[in-house]
């Protein structure tokens, strides 16, 4: 984790100084930290609509409901949190339930101090707190059971929601203990810290592939996503977005034709003081179909604004210009003196690596439903960043954020897209304008052209090798829009090592790799033009999705230039010296595991086929899941690349749900492949050209390669799995293409044309 994401709201985060309460409330047993709302819940005299305001509760029927403050977008994180609680609590998995938290700060991440889901952070940052919460519950239940049974608590065994006394053969279910009303206990902060958690050999739940709790809802149509929200008296909003991604203004709206559409209520031109959107109009009607018809009938005159002439080409040209300036950007890594080392190096390699704009395109298009009820603004929407999104919704409404209640829903895909809150602005302003609850649904075209996309990136890497073929110097410039800076939250930025000011580390993470290179510079350079024209966001795997594309391609180029096997060179560079001690060895082992599983170097491949390797420490140096990939490709004379197999190994330390991890790693690897080969968005005249799945084309079933996943659980702390495997695949494929046909492609996506051109070169 970057240091800067800590302590966003220290007063609500520091659980280490708070006591933990287990008490009886109207609905059963409630468990949570003092000051987190539990105090009130316990004091309240059985309210009719008691809402559990704590991390979990146990009902008199024995059902344990865990409230998850993390956005569940398919990574089954709610289920994972329940699994961690259940392990220490001793609950039967059949008794576990989950619910999604509101934006109340009491559900903030215990480490991050905000409600944000990203970075593949959730499991690692909540593991300890959830474990202790579960253990505290077990202790309270056990003591109450001991009193009821008249036996020493130390002789009781807790298993599968039952507390039993083997000597006397007495037992009580959790339900019976809860009904007895005796399970009340306060743990001081020190008590809680002193609880001895289970060691890995005592686990009966962690490391077991229990069925994910959200899956049954997702096979019968009952899971409720944001788009499924229905409120009494609700009307619908359809968006008209301008031809320019950002910076346009509405000069006039003629709703003459829209007024003839049955059910049309009003056209609302957004006045977005949060600057999240520009030039958007919402057509409100009694049904979504009518709202869309009305939207199509609106005649809107725009001023295209300052970005109306920009294209992907102009953004790349600007990036190149900025990179060429000696005083651009800020240093993220500054070890030794690469420039001096290049002067004495036996061989110097230089290359440019690029990635194009990429669109999140989750299957559930962006949507939000807003309702003003008294002083309170209610927002219903699946969102990954309730803390910030609530503030944006408040800004759109012109009210204080404390009056906003966010109702979390299942997310029909997140991938970082739902860290943003643009969808709330039209819903809030339309609801305000018509005095009714409004659900705004983006068309796929709105969703694609107004994405907070993965930024277009331009990277220049220069490497120096000495007479022995040893890599002695590397300088790496990364030019991109700065997605995290756009959030306007200083704590999410990092100080630069040259003290030039804060930089957006989420554009360079990964470039601070675990290879030993004595002279190493990384510059983070903000492409202001791209930043303004294509407001960018965090797309699954964020910076390591492009930094490792450059680094892992260059390492391969160095290997070929020095006559070494690319995998062997990586093993040599991962020598674990100095600051790389520990991580480098784990990454080396992971690489070797992937090589072994793939049969790397063990057989001669047919002509036109090749294997390529890559290994990464995504997402961040301090939160790495050590991940390696061997890609096996076949390249046709036309340049067309077919991926035959992806072999991915990942060291995650401790696995909570092995099957869930495999699902995430496989999905992430296929995302990596889709970004490497199939997904490309382009800017023209200030607008994104791709509008639907005919022109923006993620991987389909017919393009599915064989995927082999090897998860290494070596007992170290649990790390994240949602993103890292995304980052390792593109360079592995690029390196495999080179290995197959000698074509080095340095831009993503890797197209047949680019491969063919490189084959000729």
């Amino acid at each position: 984790m970057n240091k800067h994401v800590k302590n966003l709201a220290p007063e609500t985060t520091d659980l280490s100084r708070r006591s933990f309460l287990v008490g009886t409330a109207a609905t059963g047993l409630v468990l949570g930290y003092a000051g987190s709302g539990i105090d009130g819940a316990l004091a309240a005299p059985a309210p009719a609509n008691f809402e559990p305001s704590v991390w979990y509760s146990i009902a008199p029927d024995g059902l344990v409901t865990v409230t998850c403050g993390k956005a569940d977008m398919g990574q089954h994180v709610a289920s994972t949190m329940a699994q961690i609680v259940a392990e220490e609590l001793g609950a039967n998995w059949k008794d576990m339930r989950v619910q999604l938290a509101s934006n109340d700060p009491k559900f903030n991440d215990p480490v991050l101090g905000a409600q944000i889901t990203g970075g593949s952070w959730s499991t690692m940052m909540n593991f300890d707190a959830m474990s202790r919460a579960g253990a505290a519950g077990r202790i309270a239940l056990t003591e109450a059971a001991a009193a009821s049974m008249g036996v020493p608590a130390g002789e009781l065994v807790v298993r599968a929601s039952t507390i039993s006394h083997p000597k006397s053969k007495k037992s009580m279910s959790f339900a019976e203990v809860v009904k007895s009303g005796k399970a009340t206990k306060t743990f001081t902060a020190d008590d809680l810290k002193a609880i001895k958690l289970k060691s890995a050999d005592q686990y009966t739940m962690i490391g077991v592939s229990v069925p994910q709790l959200d899956i049954p809802l997702k096979v019968n149509g009952t899971a409720k996503y944001g788009i499924d929200v229905m409120l009494p008296g609700m009307v619908y909003g359809a968006l008209v977005t301008p031809p320019v991604r950002y910076g346009a203004t509405v000069k006039s709206v003629d709703d003459g034709a829209a007024k003839k559409v049955p059910g049309f209520i009003k056209a609302v031109t957004l006045d977005d003081k949060t600057t999240t959107t520009t030039g958007w109009v919402v057509a409100v009607a009694n049904t979504y179909a009518n709202a869309k018809k009305a939207a199509a009938a609106l005649k809107i005159d725009y001023d295209g604004g300052p970005n109306a002439k920009l294209s992907s080409e102009s953004l790349f040209a600007e990036a190149k210009r900025l990179q060429g300036l000696s005083d651009s950007g800020e240093f993220f890594v500054k070890d030794g003196d690469p420039n001096a080392a290049f002067g004495t190096a036996a061989k110097v390699l230089e290359a440019e690596y690029t990635t194009n704009i990429n669109i999140h395109a989750p299957m559930e298009p962006m949507n939000a439903t807003a309702e003003f009820k008294g002083d309170i603004l209610h927002i219903y929407s699946g969102n990954q960043f309730a803390t910030r999104s609530g503030a944006i919704a408040a800004g759109a409404a012109g009210i204080d954020p404390k009056f906003v209640v966010m109702h979390q829903m299942w997310l029909g895909g997140g991938f970082g897209r739902r860290l943003d809150a643009d969808m709330m602005v039209p819903a809030v302003q339309a609801a305000k304008a018509v005095g009714k609850p409004v659900k705004v649904i983006y068309t796929r075209e709105n969703d694609m052209t107004m994405d907070f996309s993965r930024p277009l990136t331009y990277q220049k890497v220069k490497a120096g090798v000495d007479g022995d073929g040893k890599l002695v110097a590397l300088s790496h410039d990364v030019v991109s829009a700065w997605p995290t800076q756009r959030w306007g939250i200083p704590d999410f930025l990092s100080p630069s090592v040259d003290k030039k000011g804060p930089l957006d580390a989420f554009t360079v993470n990964g470039s601070d790799f675990f290879y030993t290179v004595p002279n190493h510079y990384v510059r983070a350079i903000k492409n202001e033009m791209a930043h303004n024209a294509t407001p960018s966001g965090q797309l699954r795997s964020v910076a390591p999705g492009w930094t490792f594309w450059a680094v892992e391609s260059m390492v391969d180029e160095i290997a070929h230039a020095t006559g070494k096997d690319p995998a062997q060179l990586r093993v040599e560079l991962l020598d674990g010296k100095g600051k790389n001690d520990g991580g480098a060895q784990r990454l080396r082992n992971t690489l070797l595991a992937a090589m072994g599983l793939a049969g790397y170097g063990t057989k001669k491949l047919p002509k036109g086929e090749g294997m390529g390797v890559a290994c990464v420490s995504s997402q961040e140096r301090a939160t790495a899941s050590w991940t390696a990939c061997v890609a096996h490709v076949a390249v046709a004379p036309s340049g067309e690349v077919t991926v035959k197999k992806l072999t991915v190994a990942t060291d995650v330390g401790t696995q909570v749900n092995p099957d869930g991890i495999r699902a995430q790693v496989e999905g992430a690897a296929l995302w990596g492949m889709s970004l490497a080969l199939f997904e490309k968005a382009t800017l023209k005249d200030g607008g994104i050209e791709q509008t639907n799945f005919d022109s923006y084309t993620p991987l389909r079933m017919s393009q599915l390669p064989e995927v082999a996943v090897n998860v290494i659980a070596n007992g170290e702390k649990a790390t994240g799995v949602g993103e890292p495997a995304v980052t390792v695949v593109a360079p592995a494929i690029g390196n495999a293409v080179f290995n197959a046909v000698g074509a080095r492609v340095r831009g993503l996506p890797i197209t047949a044309e680019a491969v063919k051109a490189a084959m000729k070169a």
Binding site: K218, T222, M363, L411, N692, F693, M701
Partner: protein, 163 residues
């Protein structure tokens, strides 16, 4: 007012005849298991059955659906126990789950005609259904599992009839 036969029930709806069936199902009938994904027949999230054929409800007008038997995910089986739904749970297919109603409905149309499809037939039949979480390999496994279960069930069924 047009009358729709949906999941075995007749329901009257109030909407212009060119309204996409998708929005009639979701908003008027408040059956939200059928999802909106692209509005252009490119992703398959809105797949329902018309007289047993898988169609994209975003590309089907209300007028085209009148007089036909419409089946949505809610009506695929009485208790959500269609062999495909069971297989989807057994293989732990869904991640975000948003596309899965459409995937299941698309697969159900295949298995209703062919309970012994080859992998190639499965891919050809399912290729129009996007899954952004990329759960494709589990979808394939679940279809094969359900097909096998259906074959076993029908074999046992005929044995029983025979005796």
């Amino acid at each position: 007012m047009p009358n729709l036969n949906i999941n075995g029930r007749n329901m009257s709806v109030e909407a212009a005849s060119d309204t996409p069936l998708l929005w009639v199902i979701r908003e008027q009938l408040q059956m939200t298991g059928t999802k909106f994904g692209c509005g252009a027949g490119l992703c398959g999230a809105c797949t329902v059955h018309l007289n047993g054929e898988a169609v994209r409800s975003c590309q089907t007008s209300l007028a085209d659906a009148v007089g036909k038997k419409i089946t949505t995910i809610e009506g695929l089986s009485a208790k959500g126990e269609h062999p495909l739904q069971k297989a989807w749970v057994a293989e732990q297919v869904p991640q975000c789950g948003y596309c899965q109603s459409g995937q299941i409905m698309q697969a159900a149309a295949l298995l209703s005609k062919n309970t012994n499809p080859t992998k190639e037939e499965v891919v050809a039949h399912m290729d129009g259904n996007l899954c952004r979480c990329m759960t494709y390999s589990r979808i394939q496994k679940a279809i094969m599992r359900a097909a096998s279960d259906m074959r076993t069930a029908s074999a046992t069924g005929s044995e029983r009839r025979a005796t």
